[in-house]
Symmetry: C2
Subunit: 375 residues, 2 copies
């Protein structure tokens, strides 16, 4: 289980095609993972995701913990059964949401101006974990590394993520280092709790650690070395694409590439534009996820070979063309831009569905194309 | 074309199974017709509607006329092509919406208390047609019988409805009679305009007249006789289930049954609860439509053999049961009440989709069952 085989590598020895084996089946990498924040990839059914070719989906621990609750999901037979998805699932650690949805914590220099939860002590970081208030009702909660492992094991994902602190972008070197070191201490606790749970439940789930270190190459390298040494079944890169210029993003990735284990899947978190995916795959990143395709869809926009198409634009009013001429997805095979525009203008749910479907299919096909290129 | 064959009748000679032939294929009756108000049966795709077994869908002339406009749809090749539905389509006349969405007209005694458009002169009824203001932007429009025929021919439906005035419930005998007589004069204009358009476009579309007459048996009978005499390919009953007690609804239907042509499809407008459908089929009604299944779905409720199920109820929180044990639809085969409840609580679109799917499938299956019973 959690065997990763590299089937093919490009000449430069960076991009690669591999197969990662999980309890719910094999994942061919590189792979784009659609995000089902609350146990549903927004607007889409599991059957549609399979039709599109999604091999694995994500769910957010933070959201599922708050509602309907991990205990309920455990009682219902786990997340796979609950949401009726029999392929692999990855759950994130909840760390990113605790910090990003928690609003202003005392460490953040400049809270976002439109931050609705911008009041003090929404998030209190302690050595043993994080105290936070629910974004839904303000109730108090506490996530420790062990707690986050327990929640993810209750959800029953194939791949679970270590609890990490994603320090806010621009918080300075001192704090970034502290947060990274805390993340390192926490991952050890995660690993120990996770292994106990695997033994206790007689299951095999894979724990992935998350490399942090902000925009500091030396910290990134330190973190990469530390996480690689844990010898877990995969490794993730967190805290990138959080507001920094893309040049810097890829500098950070490049700086740690030599330290990433070659024979394990590498997951770059939160990546999902076509150009980001291309850059990631070029560097031998195997997995990525993003809410962008479904979010863009809900905002009336579609990925196309010629850039993002905004359906609301008047120019689509009489267009008999599909969203993307080269795309053979259900939306592109069956509907014109004019009709999808009409649906979006009228706030018809079918419009959101068709755009979300297309955008997930577009990224999936993009990655398939890159796989073929590498082969 | 528009041949109606009765294949089977029950012993009492009332309920019947028939086949109605249209340019887009045959419709087996009795048939429930899902409503695609704005060119989309809310939340559902055309493929799903076919999977469910929908044989014909409705679209609303009023809405399609306002947005995106019948001229646009004509330019796009007609409604079938625009919305990618190759089975029959019926468009209503827009009359009902003009009056019901127009808000308080001077004739309405008691405007609905939550009527947002409750200001004077939104609707002016003249002998030659109706002046009204758009519910969208307040712009002025005029529907005459000929105009409504032109719009529906541009949309290109298989079955088009005559322009009628549905007098508000409780407006008194005098006004009901006036409105009925106007409807009778209008249907003649509709017929003549419609026949011209059929000839001019070299197409075959069927015009159905609409029986009015409020809650007055003698007016209903007068209207039924008048409409039957037109010898059009089908006949509709309008202005019922508009607020009156159901006992009265069926009294009105019963009073006109002897006057309806036996060999033509009978369409009772706006009927869509399971019990109403049963009552209608019992009386030899062949077609009915209602927004209820999708509207209920969007409100978090499902039809079941044991009555309407409200998913938000706490009792569904841990329920591993399907929405309806006897239903084999996609939603019932694949998802628990607990999951659908979670989706509804979280306002996930998939929840609305699953409930809408189930509700349309439920009514379709109900009618199928009745068909078998008659056979």
């Amino acid at each position: 289980m959690f065997d990763f085989k590299i089937l093919k590598q490009d000449k430069k020895g960076r991009s690669r095609v591999g197969v990662f084996t999980t309890p719910h089946g094999r994942i061919e990498t590189p792979v784009f993972m659609p995000v089902g924040t609350k146990g549903s990839v927004k607007t889409l059914s599991p059957d549609e995701l399979k039709e599109i070719g999604a091999q694995i989906i994500l769910a957010n621990t933070y959201h599922m913990y708050l509602r309907p609750g991990h205990k309920l999901i455990k009682k219902m037979g786990g997340l796979h059964k609950f949401i009726n998805w029999d392929r692999p699932i990855l759950t994130d650690s909840g760390g990113f949401q605790v910090f990003s949805l928690g609003g202003n914590n005392t460490l953040r220099k400049s809270p976002a101006p439109n931050d609705k939860n911008n009041h003090k002590s929404n998030v209190t970081i302690r050595e043993d974990g994080v105290e936070f208030r629910s974004v839904l009702d303000g109730s108090k909660h506490f996530f420790s590394p062990a707690k986050v492992m327990e929640i993810q094991h209750d959800l029953g994902a194939d791949i679970i993520m270590a609890f990490d602190e994603c320090a806010p972008h621009g918080c300075g070197r001192k704090y970034t280092k502290e947060a990274m070191e805390r993340t390192h201490r926490w991952v050890l606790e995660c690993k120990s709790a996770h292994e106990k749970l695997n033994r206790a439940h007689k299951v095999k789930r894979a724990l992935f650690p998350i490399i942090q270190g902000g925009m500091y190459k030396d910290l990134r390298i330190e973190s990469a070395k530390f996480m690689a040494a844990l010898d877990l079944p995969g490794i993730a890169i967190g805290g990138l694409a959080v507001g920094e210029p893309r040049k810097q993003t890829w500098e950070m990735v490049d700086s740690i590439l030599p330290w990433l284990p070659k024979n394990k899947p590498r997951y770059m978190m939160g990546i999902g534009t076509p150009s980001d995916i291309k850059e990631a795959v070029k560097r031998g990143i195997d997995m990525f996820d993003c809410v962008l395709p479904t979010r863009l869809g809900r905002h009336g926009a579609a990925f196309t070979a010629k850039g993002t198409l905004h359906l609301k634009n008047e120019s689509n009013k009489y267009s008999k063309r599909p969203l993307d001429a080269a795309c053979g997805c259900y939306a592109c095979k069956n509907f014109t831009r004019a009709y999808i525009r009409h649906l979006i203008m009228e706030k018809e749910i079918l419009g959101l569905r068709l755009l979300s479907y297309h955008n997930v299919a577009y990224l999936t096909r993009l990655v398939e194309g890159m796989k073929k290129g590498i082969r």
